[in-house]
Amino acid sequence: MFIKQVSVFLENSAGRLQSALKVLKNENINIVSLSLADTNDYGMLRMIVSDAARAKDALKAAGLSAHLTDVLAIKLPHTVGSLEHVLSEVADAGINVEYMYALSTKDENACIVIKPENAEACAKALEDKKFDFVTNEEVENF
């Protein structure tokens, strides 16, 4: 139920983000979704890509600091309040969300990527409530 996210530590300066994306382009790796957290000094690029393992290796080979992280991608209907519903379940389980961002899909559903503080507990809580997860196989075929 977890999917692999590629995280890249980038200096907060001109051209760094582009240099990371160029590596993926050259490897013919598709970016399904991404988020960028920034601080004064550095940024954290987080991506869901078509081939996470190969993306990480290619980024590392290019001298970038890339890592794989397990995150949850939950399918949601395109209706008002559906995201709030997911988060209320997470909150009820007493789990803090480290970060989250939207994932684009081809089908009717919306999808949200969550990095919870306690991944196992969060997955279990949502599974119990019959939420649907995006799998690595689905990501590869987006």
Partner: protein
């Protein structure tokens, strides 16, 4: 302007040499009989006190370095018993262990005498109110200046550091006419005075600055901004503290109190004496010290010497404004910092040294220190929270090590410069000419 001790400060060169020769003989004998470390050091090169009969024998003596102080930490180079030591001061060493010095009552008196001479040179006397804004504590700046101001008969206001607002209020309310602090701090004070408009109220006439490298341009800038005479005072705790040398109204070099501290300039590479006027490393031999007398102590400060009489009337030798250091010591906000201290702190974090770079700059006249650390595998987290925690942790260990707040910046792996052999770990962007 008045001269505090004309008998000593205006001696003929011949008289001075005779006095220094006699005192050197006595000091070497004293050290030989009271400090085992020195006795062995002299015996190792086949020297006995009887071999030193005057200034001409000075170069026979072995040098002393900060390493000798470290190796004998804490009191191994003390020549007087603890019962005679009335005060301890300490400054940072190269590896985190402090350099400890001790003073007998007579040492303290001589120190106050030297600072009194310096202050008189700067036009400060008993009719002045002087704020001492050097740190009070283990650092020699605060207490050293303090005793000198008292000795000269002026009114001392022991401000210490850290409260600019209070300093300015008291400067105004007390009508302070003198201030002693680091030059960068004084420029910071000057800017604040302009911002608040209080610049027109102050009665300051003399500023005695030191404890960090600065430039002639900065000195003139202070004079123009504050409408004061600004003077350069020099010292180091190993030899005494502030007051070892100080410049006069002529501003043509710093007069060394050479009846107490014998200066030499030696070539950086060969350690052989260089002719007067040539640049080299400043070496001091204490002539009257009881607590911790040092023989041929290498200051690592680069300067030149002028032994011709000065237009101010004094004949004591003058050393030129410092041209840098022969080691990698940094003086940051008046505090001595060795890059090795920062390295040791980083290494202590979890036993592996990350790649790092120390970047020193001066922003609004205050030194800033940024330590860039590469985010290696073991540090990596994709959560900003964790990375901020790491930043704070590194800032904490460095602050503990050097006593100064630094900014830590995390950078990408393999982006910091790597040099062949000895890598460069410091970029000092400050300008000192």
């Amino acid at each position: 302007m008045a001269i505090w001790n004309e008998a000593k400060e205006c001696m003929s060169r011949d008289q001075m040499c005779v006095l220094q020769g006699e005192r050197l003989k006595k000091q070497v004998k004293y050290v030989y009989h009271n400090v085992e470390y020195y006795r062995k050091k002299m015996q190792n090169v086949g020297l006995e006190p009887g071999d030193i009969n005057g200034l001409e024998d000075l170069t026979k003596l072995p040098f002393t370095t900060k390493d000798d102080l470290r190796d004998t930490y804490p009191f191994g180079l003390f020549a007087a018993p603890q019962s005679e030591i009335v005060r301890i001061h300490a400054s940072s060493g190269t590896t985190g262990k402090a350099t400890v010095v001790g003073y007998t009552r007579r040492d303290i008196d001589i120190w106050a005498e030297c600072v009194a001479r310096a202050l008189t040179q700067c036009g400060i006397g008993k009719n002045d109110i002087v704020q001492v804004a050097y740190g009070y504590g283990l650092f020699t700046g605060g207490l050293g200046a303090h005793y000198g101001v008292e000795n000269v008969g002026a009114t001392v206001v022991p401000m210490s550091t850290g409260n600019t607002k209070k300093l300015i209020t008291m400067m105004n309310d007390f009508g302070a006419t003198g201030i002693m602090c680091t030059p960068s701090y004084l420029l910071h004070i000057a800017e604040t005075l302009y911002e608040t408009g209080e610049i027109n109220n102050i009665k300051l006439k003399a500023a005695v600055c030191g404890a960090e490298p600065w430039t002639e341009k900065m000195r003139q800038q202070i004079e123009e901004k504050l409408h004061v005479n600004c003077f350069d005072i020099y010292g180091l705790s190993e030899i005494m503290g502030p007051g070892v040398a100080c410049d006069c109204i002529e501003h043509k070099g710093l007069h060394v109190q050479e009846d107490h501290f014998l200066p030499e300039i030696v070539a950086k590479e060969t350690l052989q004496p260089v002719p007067d006027g040539e640049l080299g490393e400043l070496v001091f031999t204490t002539l009257t010290k009881e607590g911790i007398p040092l023989i041929r102590y290498r200051t690592k400060d680069l300067t030149s010497i002028d032994r011709t009489p000065c237009a101010c009337g004094r004949t004591t030798a003058r050393i030129a404004r410092f041209k840098g250091r022969s080691d990698d010591m940094l003086v940051l906000r008046g505090v001595n910092v060795f890059p090795s201290q920062i390295e040791a702190a980083l290494l202590e974090m979890d036993g592996i040294l990350p790649h790092y770079m120390i970047i020193v700059d001066r922003v609004n006249n205050l030194d800033t220190i940024e330590v860039q650390v590469e985010v290696e595998e073991r540090f990596f987290s994709d959560e900003i929270k964790e990375l901020e925690k790491l930043t704070k942790r590194i800032e904490g260990v460095i602050k503990t090590a050097i006593g100064l707040a630094v900014k830590v910046k995390l950078v990408e792996p393999k982006t910091l410069e790597r040099a062949e052999g000895k890598s460069v770990h410091v970029i000092d962007k400050r300008v000192f000419d």
